[in-house]
């Protein structure tokens, strides 16, 4: 986040973005980690995480945001999310069946409880956050080589 680049929006928007973008990211991580206790979970938290990076891109231009999370890294995180979710489900075959909750479930309404469900939420948040950011990057980076033929 260099202070002297002319791309993006005005100084006011950039200053406010610099203050709030970390809070938005932390709120997304909070929603993901408390997904088995409160409303929210992997999808909603992943959307908020992606929105923090999209916020960065809207305020500072695409170069600053792509320096933080480039396109191959977003692809990589999306694939990691899918593979993690599938492998959590497949490990259940050790005890018997698909999606077996093989970790100790703990006491209800505590943060570290519910076995594999928080891990599934984290995997879904990787997939959704990286996927939504990749959709936005793909829309921004669409090639405009053809010069209007009419």
């Amino acid at each position: 986040m260099s202070k002297n680049n002319n791309k993006g929006m005005t100084l006011i928007v950039k200053t406010i973005t610099r203050l709030t973008v970390g809070l938005i990211l932390l709120y997304g991580i909070y929603i993901v980690l408390h997904g088995h206790l409160t409303p929210g979970g992997g999808f909603a938290g992943g959307v908020i995480i992606a929105l923090s990076f999209i916020h960065l891109m809207l305020a500072f231009g695409k170069d600053v945001a792509l320096k933080k999370v480039s396109e191959p890294i977003a692809d990589l995180f999306e694939s990691i999310g899918a593979v993690l979710f599938l492998s959590i489900a497949l490990i259940g075959f050790v005890g018997g069946y698909f999606f077996l909750n093989f970790i100790d479930k703990g006491t209800a309404f505590k943060l570290f409880s519910a076995g594999t469900i928080p891990l599934c939420n984290i995997a879904i948040s990787f997939k959704v956050g990286a996927g939504l950011f990749a959709i936005f990057v793909a829309l921004v980076l669409l090639k405009t080589d053809s010069k209007g033929e009419e």
Partner: protein, 111 residues
């Protein structure tokens, strides 16, 4: 009736799709139609005076609204996000090709 409001919202979206000529306005109409259907599905599971179907620490399960349509609508919202992204990408490609959003000026595909 509450369901009548969903019909009104649906009609507004349908009017927007059928009458407007700007591609962006047509996309907004599609999104309004989609949300009208989502609202109707959530209203099917609503009960007056009910509370949100969340199990908290010392609360008994009584007088909750039906959580099943809400789960269905959550999936529907995700699918709507994907289709809207696809439609917007196609609109951007059309704008690249024709330099306009007016659907009456896009006449290359006419037979």
């Amino acid at each position: 009736m509450l369901y009548f409001l969903c019909l009104v919202l649906f009609s507004i979206g349908l009017y927007c799709i059928l009458v407007k000529r700007n591609l962006i306005k047509i996309i907004i109409g599609l999104v309004i139609v989609e949300y009208a259907v989502n609202l109707m599905l959530v209203l099917f599971g609503y009960r007056f005076g009910g509370r949100a179907p969340i199990l908290a620490q010392d609360q008994t399960i009584e007088n909750m609204v039906d959580p099943l349509p809400q789960a269905l609508v959550l999936t529907s919202i995700v699918i709507g996000l994907a289709t809207t992204a696809l439609i917007v990408a196609i609109a951007v490609r059309i704008y690249d090709k024709y330099r306009t959003f007016d659907i009456t000026k896009i006449r290359r595909l006419r037979g």
